[in-house]
């Protein structure tokens, strides 16, 4: 046992003296996690990094509704999210969007208000109701799809409220007219009166209750998904790098030297596996700790975190050993390991949300330690504890045992560890 431990510690020490390996194992995932933190607004406290979205308003309507929409964009509620500027030149506004100076231009055409609320002297008849609607134009910047989408949503929301009032007013008018309470003489004045006196505090409503006691109640930190996502991605590099060292020792002649010492091949293999395992645990542990200290990520149940890290590294180590057993040269291990790191990254959920994928894809993802590991970290982030992690932990342990057994069979067949 002591020999296994010594070989393992020796390999761990060697990795931590290898600066290029450290850059890849620790710095790369850390920088990517930080970048993701910026994108998701994690460091700015928002739901995304979006703020001060530049919008150009061209109000050619200069009437009740056009002015109201301008006020919406300048409201206190949207301060910080939207940075509106006014312009009277439609072409200049479009040009500014084309030159990426604004996320969108909102062009309110002349007559917009009067196409909805009839002006004094307007005949309120079929021709008014069936007239072509005057449309607001949202000229969107295609390279800022999210910002432009937010601007469009604000305009849509405003129009939706206007439509509600319009429908309400029209319903009242039609009902009065069909009951003979609206005559041709008083129709115009009544219509304007109804539109102007409409109440905002409607009683009819349906309250939407969100899942208070469920997942919604827990403050979900996006970094508690992304940081382990990146750590597990680069863990695959670490385990293949460790496996590579076995073949490198053989080609450099240090492996046969180890085998002629009073050390059994099982002890040598055990020591190498322990080295890979300890390196992986150190890597993921450091990244988790660093995310906690520098980004303030709360990982939840410490016992659950430790158990999950150990199981995830165990499962990944199994893959590292299998790659090593199948490869012939250290370079092959590196190449296959890097490829597997990226493939597992994408099918295991480090790059894309697996929930958006079809069920077949999610099933395939179960062969990766990334998918099970992220499943466990998500459970922890949602307030779960060790008992809730049983499924991913057991799956990762079975993965490790099966892959390790296959690797041992392949090692024996190739006679690599025979004295």
């Amino acid at each position: 046992m002591k020999k296994i431990f010594l070989i393992g510690i020796k390999d761990l020490t060697l990795v931590f003296r290898d600066r290029p390996a450290l850059i890849f194992m620790l710095l790369a995932p850390f920088l990517l996690t930080a970048g993701m933190g910026f994108v998701t607004g994690r460091f700015s406290g928002g739901s995304s990094g979006l703020s001060d979205i530049p919008v150009i308003l061209v109000n050619q309507d200069q009437d009740q509704l056009g002015n109201a929409l301008e006020e919406v964009f300048s409201s206190e509620e949207l301060a910080g999210l939207i940075e509106p500027t006014s312009s009277s030149d439609v072409e200049a506004a479009r040009r500014a969007v084309d030159e990426d100076e604004a996320a969108a231009a909102v062009i309110i055409p002349e007559g917009f208000t009067r196409s909805i609320i009839p002006a004094e002297g307007t005949r309120f008849d079929q021709s008014f109701l069936q007239s072509e609607p005057v449309k607001i134009e949202v000229y969107a910047n295609p390279s800022r799809p999210t910002s432009a989408g937010i601007v469009k949503a604000i305009v849509d929301e405003f129009i939706s409220r206007v439509e509600e009032r319009r429908t309400s007013g029209m319903t009242a008018i039609f009902q009065l007219a069909s009951n003979g309470l609206l005559t041709a003489e008083n129709a115009e004045a009544e219509v304007r009166g109804i539109f102007e006196n409409m109440q905002d505090d409607e009683v009819a409503a349906i309250t939407i209750q969100m899942n208070e006691e469920g997942a919604e109640a827990v403050e979900f930190d996006i970094l508690s998904y992304m940081a382990p996502g990146m750590a597990l991605l680069f863990l695959m590099y670490t385990v293949s790098h460790g496996g590579r060292s076995i073949l490198a020792e053989r080609s450099q002649g240090t492996l046969p030297r180890l085998l002629i010492s009073p050390t059994s091949s099982t002890q040598v293999l055990g020591g190498k596996v322990l080295g890979i395992f300890l390196t992986g645990v150190a890597q993921v542990g450091i990244l988790i700790l660093a995310s906690s200290i520098l980004f303030g990520v709360e990982w939840g149940d410490p016992l659950g975190v430790v158990a999950l890290i150990l199981a995830a590294v165990f499962g990944a180590t199994g893959w590292g050993m299998l790659i090593t057993a199948l490869a012939r040269t250290p370079a092959q291990v590196s190449n296959v390991g890097s490829a597997l790191m990226l493939i597992f990254g994408i099918i295991g959920g480090s790059f894309i949300n697996l929930e958006q994928m079809p069920s077949l894809f999610r099933t395939i993802s179960k062969i990766t330690p990334n998918a099970w590991g992220l499943d466990g970290f998500t459970t922890l982030a949602l307030g779960g504890r060790l008992p809730g992690l049983i499924e991913p932990i057991v799956a990762l342990l079975i993965m490790g045992v099966v892959l390790f057994a296959i690797a041992v069979v392949l090692f024996n067949r190739s006679g690599m560890l025979q004295k």
Partner: protein, 401 residues
């Protein structure tokens, strides 16, 4: 010229010495582009987000909500039992569940006591979109009730109802009128995608084009940064030192190495663009010359960066690690994985020092704005400036051993 061609051939042989290089050269870029652009078939022709609906009320009012949801362009309602919904939600196989509880009726809506429950998975974009769709559907249903209530009030202001039955009949008729008016609501907002194209054909925004361009830059820049590993490999084996004994100048050697890798990168880029156009049916702009200018200048900038990096690294392993790390981080910060608009303004300004930012900007001008050579000239010039700068640093610091 002969020497340069010989160096190009030698580097191509070294790079493709192992079959696994094909994996990084074309297989993985295609897989990533395909998956990240949503290429995986879901087996379902309806692209709307699945929304589980538990209709425990079974009233006309609850049915109206379901009907409104069925008309939604965002969600696809599927009615299930509460047990089924909760089981799927707990297993995270359902993103969002709407429960219409017993008691949801026309009366409860009118007196404002109606409630529905919405279960949504946290931090899930689809769940947020579904929540929006549910709010819209509910608002459409409640606004018709509000309109009918308003109609009743207006009537009462002029002439009181003779009985409660008459009042209710008036309300029912007004409710029907409100629904008809809602259905006939005209479009009052039009969204136009910005375009610098002078032709009538305005490109429509397709997020897949954005992803395709971003993946192209990521997968081409990483191996070009990896030129540093090529130098380190030759230095470690002493073959670079051996060049001193041949009549090959430093400039010839660097030119040969960079040209070879840029040519390989251009082939890789054209394969990825071809895949995007032919398989993914994406538009890659209207001006092939402008596309070539952006691709070439991007490749030159990345290759020159790899050359400069090669003069700082000591070993092949170090070069490999750094080139992948720089490639991924530059891609993320340059807007290749997520639109740059999502980053804080300070970061958006800071990342202008990265070649990936300009390469991505140039490609977006082509694929999203339908721009031509004049529109991308700014980005091309900046990328060539990067190439010149890094190349000068590379030549200045270059050493044979």
């Amino acid at each position: 010229m002969k020497k340069i061609l010989a160096i190009i051939w030698k580097d191509t042989i070294i790079r493709f010495a192992t079959p696994s290089e094909i994996l990084f050269f074309i297989v993985l870029p295609l897989v990533f582009t395909y998956l990240l652009t949503g290429g995986v078939p879901s087996g379902d022709d309806d692209p709307r987000i699945g929304l589980l609906v538990v209709n425990e009320a079974n009233t006309p009012a609850s049915q109206q909500i379901v009907e409104q949801l069925e008309m939604s362009t965002a969600v696809r309602p599927e009615t299930v039992t509460r047990e089924e919904a909760e089981s799927l939600f707990d297993d995270r196989r359902a993103e969002v569940v709407l429960i219409l509880p017993a008691g949801l009726s026309s009366d409860s809506i009118q007196n404002g006591t109606a409630k529905v429950e919405l279960l949504q998975q946290p931090n899930n974009m689809n769940a947020l979109a579904a929540r929006q769709a549910v709010s819209t559907a509910i608002r459409r249903v409640t606004s018709s009730f509000s309109a009918a209530q308003n109609a009743v009030r207006e009537r009462e202001r002029r002439e009181p109802f003779a009985s409660e039955t008459q009042r209710q009949q008036y309300f029912e008729a007004a409710l029907e009128t409100a629904r008809v008016l809602q259905e006939d609501t005209p479009e009052r907002v039009t969204a136009v995608e910005g375009s610098t194209a002078e032709t009538e054909e305005t490109p429509t925004y397709d997020p897949r084009a954005n992803t395709s361009a971003g993946q192209l830059i990521t997968w081409v820049f990483i191996p070009l940064f990896g030129i540093s590993a090529l130098f380190a490999y030759e230095r470690q084996r002493g073959t670079l030192h051996r060049l001193l004994t041949t009549p090959v100048t430093k400039a010839t050697f660097l030119l040969g190495t960079i040209s070879g890798q840029v040519l390989i990168a251009l082939v890789q880029m054209l394969l990825l663009v071809g895949f995007a156009i032919l398989v993914m049916k994406l538009s890659w702009g209207r001006d092939p010359l402008a596309l070539f200018a952006v691709l070439l200048s991007s490749a030159l900038a990345a290759a020159a960066f790899g050359t400069a990096l090669g003069t700082f690294v000591k070993s092949e392993g170090q070069a490999n690690g750094l080139s992948i790390m720089f490639g991924m981080v530059f891609a993320l910060l340059g807007g290749c994985w997520y639109p740059l608009e999502l980053f804080p303004t300070a970061i958006q300004n800071a990342v202008r020092v990265l070649p990936t930012t300009w390469a991505m900007q140039g490609m977006l001008d082509l694929v999203l704005r339908g721009g031509g050579l004049p529109e991308v000239m700014g980005e091309v010039i900046v990328l060539l400036g990067f190439a010149a700068l890094f190349f000068v640093v590379g030549v200045w610091r270059f050493r044979y051993d």
